[in-house]
């Protein structure tokens, strides 16, 4: 009512002013000159122009939007207030060329801006309303076309004007309209996505992802435009204070979009790698309704570690915000990743000879670890070690997995080496059968930083074990512990044998020069046992088993090229020295191996 009154008043004033001028001057041109010379008349004319613009705006509004919703109107007012303030700030920069035309251009800019905002709100509204009429589509499409065309025209105009007449206030308009143009593109893309979604029968799950990327790209373009604008303005005029607020918001939005995209990607990645798809059976057992969207789960759904099932798309959008189960708030990242992710992620980084052999014994003390790590085999720790020791014996590694089983004709070579490795440790510790970990203070890595050092790879020879043995090793708690203890006992027996033989061997070697295999390089003392086990062939090759100190052996071998590294070692501690001696490993002869094997079997039988 009030606006109508103001409009009428302004019309009446204009009529009076024009009539007065015409009455005084009688002719057209003199009247125009009279009006422009008289300040009060001009004021009236300006007010009239403002009213006309507002009325035109209302008309356009009616054509393109119809009745504005309350929220839209509030939003518009809020933004308009800031825009007006910023326009006033812009006036201060360009106070030199302040004239009516300049004001008119800024008014037009504001006017177009508000239409852009409304268009944006309208398109966002598409997602909220169940009733989208044909008129709506028609309006949005025509509005976007008109706004886009106007923006392009003004950008081009500003560009030409800057090129021909040099930098002027047109620079500001050029950038403002360029930013408005990106807004039109953004809104158009959103509109297209919403329309496709509305017309599809099934929910379009990837729409959110597309929207995210649109936001990201448009945000990036806007940020670039603003930065360019500020740089140019600073060089030509002064700091464009009026551009700072929108620039700040643009950068913030861009940052948010960027974060969203990262979080979304992470969520999708987790979704694809960590959680299994829910099976039809599980869906039936649950009540088959996704609690996030309250719809039936016919499309892809995922099961979380806590057994709650959700739509994949719903989970993805939720995980973008929070990494908890919506139902029970279980932190899925903390529960799942420590067991699953590090194994997968750190695998490539495993150094070639990382495993401290004592990591493996430590594993035994902590059988729960295996309960969680399905694949982890108690002997996994030894495996890489052994691969380093004797790459030629890969096919015999199976024995590692179950040293307890009766050694087959081909198996025990690998087996006895392994056993010997642990044997030296058990030998030095005197209580090999009990818990081993606390006895190795110098080798704490596994228990103290359980996830820094990746758990050893599960041996690929696992399949060589029979189904039964595998079950025993992996089985639940008591059974698997028993199976492992059995393994360890067997190992211990074999180790003791190996030590015995080693002593015999060293005694024998002290009297004869034998070319034997040199132990492979390893920093740990466990390797000494390895060396010992290799040298168990001694009793076979040299029947002489004279008891004696091992030290002379080492020194006598010092001249041997394969023992060259050992020669530098202190002969008094030959066990340790042999282990530290670093020289390339030579594969043992097959014959030697066989004999050693036979010998070992005999020893084992004796022990039992």
């Amino acid at each position: 009512m009030r606006s109508i009154g103001i409009s009428l008043l302004s019309f009446m004033l204009t009529t009076v002013v024009i009539a007065n001028a015409y009455y005084q001057k009688k002719q057209f041109y003199p009247s125009v000159v009279y009006i422009t010379k008289s300040n009060p008349s001009m004021a009236v004319i300006y007010i009239q122009a403002f009213v006309v613009i507002l009325m035109f705006g209302k008309l356009m509004n009616r054509i393109f939007f119809g009745q504005l919703r309350t929220a839209e109107f509030e939003h518009l007012m809020e933004r308009a207030w800031y825009a007006v303030t910023e326009t006033c700030l812009a006036f201060t920069v360009f106070r030199d060329d302040f004239n009516p035309k300049f004001v008119a251009l800024f008014t037009l800019l504001l006017f177009l801006k508000s239409f852009h905002w409304l268009a944006e709100d309208r398109v966002d509204y598409m997602e909220r309303s169940p009733v989208i009429s044909l008129l709506f589509h028609l309006r949005v499409l025509s509005l976007l076309t008109v706004l886009g065309a106007l923006d392009m025209y003004f950008v081009q105009h500003a560009y030409l004007s800057t090129i021909t007449k040099g930098a002027s206030v047109q620079l500001v308009f050029g950038f403002e309209y360029a930013i408005l143009a990106t807004m039109v593109v953004n809104v158009a893309i959103k509109y297209a996505l919403h329309t496709v979604d509305l017309n599809s029968e099934m929910p379009w799950e990837n729409k959110a992802v597309f929207l995210l990327y649109t936001e990201l790209i448009m945000g990036f373009i806007k940020v670039i435009l603003y930065v360019l604008f500020v740089i140019i303005m600073v060089r030509i005029y002064t700091l464009p204070l009026f551009a700072f607020r929108p620039m700040y918001y643009t950068i913030r939005n861009f940052k948010k979009a960027f974060n969203d995209v990262i979080l979304s990607r992470r969520a999708i990645h987790n979704m694809n790698t960590l959680y299994p798809d829910a099976t039809a059976e599980e869906l039936q057992n649950a009540d088959n309704v996704c609690i996030i969207c309250r719809e039936e789960m016919v499309t892809a759904s995922k099961k979380l570690p806590c057994n709650h099932i959700f739509h994949t798309a719903c989970l993805r959008s939720w995980f973008q915000r929070q990494q908890t189960c919506p139902t029970c708030r279980l932190n899925i990242l903390q529960t799942n990743i420590p067991t699953a992710a590090p194994r997968r992620e750190e695998r490539p980084r495993v150094p070639p000879q990382p495993p401290n052999p004592f990591a493996a014994p430590n594993l035994f003390a902590n059988p729960n670890l295996f309960g969680r790590n399905d694949n982890a085999n108690p002997f996994a720790g030894m495996n890489p070690f052994q691969q380093i020791l004797n790459p030629n014996e890969q096919n015999q590694n199976a024995a590692n997995q179950a040293p307890g089983q009766a050694p087959g004709p081909s198996a025990p070579t690998g087996g006895d080496q392994n056993n010997a490795q642990s044997g030296s440790t058990s030998n030095t510790q005197t209580t090999p059968n009990n818990t081993i970990p606390p006895m190795f203070p110098p080798f704490p890595p596994f228990p103290f930083m359980p996830f820094m050092i990746p758990p050893p790879l599960p041996p690929e020879h696992l399949r060589r074990l029979t189904e039964d043995e595998l079950k025993r090793l992996e089985g639940q708690e008591r059974e698997n512990v028993e199976a492992r203890i059995q393994c360890l006992r067997n190992i211990q027996i074999m180790l003791d044998t190996a030590i015995l033989m080693m002593q015999q061997y060293s005694a024998a070697a002290s009297f004869s020069t034998i070319t034997s295999q040199v132990p492979p390089p390893d920093r740990s003392s466990a390797a000494s046992a390895e060396a010992a086990s290799r040298e168990t062939n001694a009793p076979d090759t040299n029947s002489a088993s004279d008891p004696g100190d091992a030290a002379p052996t080492t020194s006598s071998n010092a001249n041997d090229p394969q023992f060259s590294a050992t020669s530098s070692a202190d002969p008094e501690n030959n066990n340790v020295e042999m282990s530290t001696s670093a020289s390339p490993e030579g594969p043992p002869e097959d014959e030697v191996r066989k004999r050693r094997l036979q010998h070992f079997q005999r020893q084992l039988e004796q022990q039992q």
Binding site: R69, D124, Y125, E127, R128, S129, P130, V131, H194, D197, L198, S200, E201, M202, P203, W204, I291, I292, C293, R294, E295, A313, C314, S317, W318, R321, Q322, T324, P326, T327, R329
Partner: protein
Amino acid sequence: MAGSALRRLMAEYKQLTLNPPEGIIAGPVNEENFFEWEALITGPEGTCFEGGVFPAKLVFPPDYPLSPPKMQFTCEMFHPNIYSDGRVCISILHAPGDDPMGYESSAERWSPVQSVEKILLSVVSMLAEPNDESGANVDAAKMWRENRDEFNKIAQRIVRRTLGIPN
């Protein structure tokens, strides 16, 4: 297909209309916009708010149910957990992460599992048992703790006002 937020709100509206919980009515103000709801809550029996019918407005975010809605009573309210402008301050309406009062555990915060019905039921129980440790309205909290009679008197006056009965 409409947006997922809209579909979920429509599903909730249907559910609330078919099986309305006792003492609660809720639905969109206008069926063209499902993101603004109006709710009527009756004061729980046996409390100082007994007999009152309190109108409230619920505004849902575009990403509902990932973010919680906002709730505001449109009548005058005097309650420790309701701001003087009617906004409701309970933990179920707060997304985990923001904690205006610094006392809520994340277990009672918003999650997509919550629903309009659960919110309104929480509000009913909040009316019955104010949490005076989170003072959205400090005066009310103080009065609730120290001068229960006076609090009850004010509550009764509000109840009468919501029913259109002169004081």
